[in-house]
């Protein structure tokens, strides 16, 4: 052969995850100019909201964009959160795949430890500048610049300086300069992203200062903190071999049996015995640290062949019907609004999730276009707005499969906003950029049911409205004749026309009111029409 295997493999190398994403930035959402800018804001705001949820405080977040030149912007995101201890700032903002969130089985906006480090990569690749950080944890404050040594996926800190805590408010502030970006007023831009973030996080106050100096504040719609998600036990059907291996090796249990029963959801002693009976050659009395990779593999395969009670979903915290309603009223003031929270369901055997859906009709719903309106689908995953890659998303797929005309609606030409939020400890995103939910059948079906349910509510409002219109038409027609009739009756009876007309009008009004009630009108509590 022209080139032998040994020659070919001389060039074999490993590379770091930083290098990989530096070379493939578009996979993180840094593709088009508008999207890239929204992605930066998205990553920082998501981290702020998560940090404030952990610290159990009401978020106040300010996002500011300064235009440096046509395709270069300065982004500043400031929060009132817990801050980052100095020893962790490099890992948190300048190391890909490092974070507090990945190993925790808990519902959070971020999951992967890629977002903020991705922003740092993007800043240094497009403007060659590090990201400036100011942090106060309340009792200690500092500022510094962070960059990434992409070859080794290690942080590079510079200009580190302590600050008097009296001089800075508690929280985190990041400031970066980014090239190849653009701000506009489209539906994929920062304003819309923050508006939707406010809808799904009505406990947050978000201020946006746009590149032209315009200030927009999305006020807090509810003052109570959302319930804090609890850490869940993994369900045996959602376990990978590496999960089991790692958890076994960091377990404090004395025996494999007690490790299984104590660590995993729905793992009774009976279930442990069932596993033991299937895998007779594994010693279940030994310490879990002694389990080999191969033994873990065989255990996971055994779990998959057994019957289990569905996973518990009490650790999932959806937004809540009242909060969604308050937020959508606050921001859209629709004529009719119907919100549905479905019961928890499970996908891929082991992962519970909850779907919330709302349909807002009229008022500020939908989007104004030339010649009228068009419908808008607002997608959310764990309260984070998804603005891109809608074509590949389970929410879009579900919304497309609903026959909207059956409910008197048309998403192409009406002022309708469709809201869907999927909450789960594990959202199966279809890409690293986390802008769409993979099209798992279980998830699509559940979203479709929620949308149909909400659509029925709006349908009642629409048919009432149509009925009222029809009724008003009839009423007007009859009224048109009362004047002539009163005249005629007056000349026959010799009474005054005015008196007869007044009594006739009352009679007609009364009759029509009755008819309206008989035909089953009645307004739904949530309609404002």
């Amino acid at each position: 052969m022209a080139e032998k295997a040994d020659d070919i493999f001389k060039e074999f190398k490993e590379h770091s995850i930083s290098e990989f994403f530096n070379k493939n930035r578009q996979m993180l959402g840094y593709s088009s100019k508008v999207r890239a800018l929204t992605t930066v804001v998205h990553e920082y705001v998501t981290n702020s909201l998560d940090a404030l949820e952990e610290a159990q405080a009401l978020p106040s977040i300010t996002v500011r964009l300064d235009r440096i030149d046509e395709a270069k912007y300065r982004v500043i995101v400031k929060d009132n959160g817990p801050g980052i201890p100095k020893g962790f700032v490099g890992k948190a903002l300048a190391t890909v795949l490092a974070g507090t969130k990945f190993h925790r089985n808990m519902q959070q906006r971020g999951q992967q430890g890629i977002g903020a480090a991705g922003c740092t990569l993007f800043a240094q690749a497009t403007t060659g500048k590090p990201v400036h950080v100011t942090s106060s944890t309340g009792d200690k404050a500092y500022e510094c610049d962070v960059a990434i040594d992409t070859l080794h996926n290690k942080p590079i800190l510079s200009n580190v300086a302590d600050i008097d805590t009296a001089k800075v408010p508690q929280g985190l502030s990041v400031r970066g300069e980014f090239g190849g970006v653009k701000y506009d007023s489209s539906d994929h831009s920062v304003f819309e992203y923050l508006k939707r973030t406010a809808i799904a996080n009505p406990h947050a106050e978000i201020t946006f200062i746009d590149p032209d100096g315009g200030e927009h504040t999305f006020m807090r719609a509810v003052d109570a903190l959302p319930e804090r998600p609890k850490i869940a036990k993994l369900h045996p059907l959602g376990l990978s071999v590496s999960d089991l291996f790692e958890m076994a090796h960091s377990s404090q249990s004395g025996r494999v049996t007690s490790f299984l029963v104590d660590t995993f959801a729905r793992f009774s002693q009976d279930k442990a015995n069932e596993v033991k009976d299937t895998l007779k050659d594994i010693d279940f009395a030994k310490g879990p640290k002694e389990l080999t990779w191969n033994e873990c593999e065989r255990m996971v395969a055994t779990f998959k062949s057994m019957r289990w009670i569905s996973p518990d979903a009490t650790h999932i915290v959806p937004i809540g019907e009242e909060r969604i309603e308050a937020a959508l009223q606050n921001i859209l003031s629709p004529e009719s609004l119907h919100v549905i929270e479905r019961k928890p369901k499970v996908f891929s055997g082991g992962f519970p999730f909850v779907v919330e859906a709302a349909i807002a009709y009229g008022g500020g719903s939908g989007r104004k276009v030339e010649g009228g309106y068009t419908g808008v689908i607002m997608r959310f995953a764990n309260r984070v707005p998804l603005l891109f890659d809608s074509g590949s998303c389970a929410i879009t797929e579900a919304a497309k499969s609903v026959d909207w005309r059956r409910y008197g609606m048309d998403l192409d030409s009406q002022a309708v906003s469709v809201f869907v939020n999927v909450s789960s400890v594990y959202i199966p995103y279809s890409g690293v950029g986390k802008e769409s939910i993979a099209q798992e059948d279980d998830i699509i079906d559940e979203i479709k049911l929620a949308l149909m349910d909400a659509a029925r509510g709006v349908q009642r409002f629409i048919s009432n409205k149509e009925h009222t219109k029809e009724y008003e038409g009839k009423y007007k027609t009859v009224m048109r004749y009362t004047s002539q009739l009163s005249q005629d009756l007056a000349s026959i009876t010799g009474r005054s026309k005015e008196g007869i007309e007044e009594r006739l009008e009352k009679l007609v009004a009364k009759q029509y009111k009755k008819e309206d009630k008989d035909e089953g009108g009645g307004s739904d509590g949530k309609d404002n029409g």
Copy 2:
């Protein structure tokens, strides 16, 4: 605050890229059952074709699928390539982000060192089984099982055994068992994937044994090896800071200046002086190994502000018009076929690419559906078929923007196959699964031009065909009267009807032939109609 920063960050951890992709398998293409199976075949076949290209040999690849149960299949892929030396098999098949391809600036199908390791992850996660490998480099042969320790992204080899080279053919054979997969006959399945691979690689012979034992062979359409892509010098506008830093630190040059001139494309001594004049505080006489990260950052920023000659594109090897024609004739036997190879263009300043497009009309083109046909868009990147995520792909976007009716075509209802192959050292994929090309404006424009060019060719054929049809209609109409006319003429002149009819028919035929030529018919060399 309820939870202080220090408490929150106690849980801070780093995790491995294997763990990340194990948890987010859908990002690698392991989402739906059919797609997951196609992805496995795609990864192995891609690696085989790349290895054979490096070894400069004509590929013969066999893919075999065995159904183990409804959602579990055994996949065997065998090639006649160079094999993998024993010392590298763990890195090559069971380490994420390791490979020979990432650091080389060279056009190849694979780039990232994720594919084959992703298959191993997927096998062990869904069936708990390692992947079995048999390799012969010609003078040494062995077999072994490979798995991944996902916690550390390290390979686990077992059952390693040497084999007598006389007993196995040279090449690589991998065998894995995968769960959560499905084979069907849809356009997203293995058969279609291999058919399209054969179209874009007419120098390869590919045999497919389907799960029901059916054997399909895509014969070699050309016997010559494709030209081998050369390693390209990076263009200064396509350089990231990490590229420059790494290359500087592994350079043998004595000075920064000579390092720049020797290493990068279009970097003349004049250009080096221009950089020196801009960055006066950097010492260009020192060794490149002494360049700091910050200095590299500033140099990359300076490169971006300078004017450069476009990058050289001679290291890009497209498929070639003749080869595409041979392949499409071989597999589709269309009535009309037009192939276009465009000149190299550049996207994002520093990355050259070449677009090839073809439109096949009639014959086996398009897809049969109930009541007729529908058009098919076949997307390729560096000869690799892209079957998924079409909605987000630059090729789809470009094809949608062509006004097909102008060319007499309708992709919704006609037997048309549209073929597009984008070749580049660096293809900007929109996801890790590499199933769609990011929508860079430069790339979309170029594809659109290629498609319009090819469409014009087919349009000529279609209007000729319509003209012929019209002509035949007229001819038949005239002929219908010759019999009556001959009869009448015979009775007037007293000659035989048969003689007159024969002469009349010849006259008409001659006249129509002439008229056809006058109206500019003439067949295009590539049309078979």
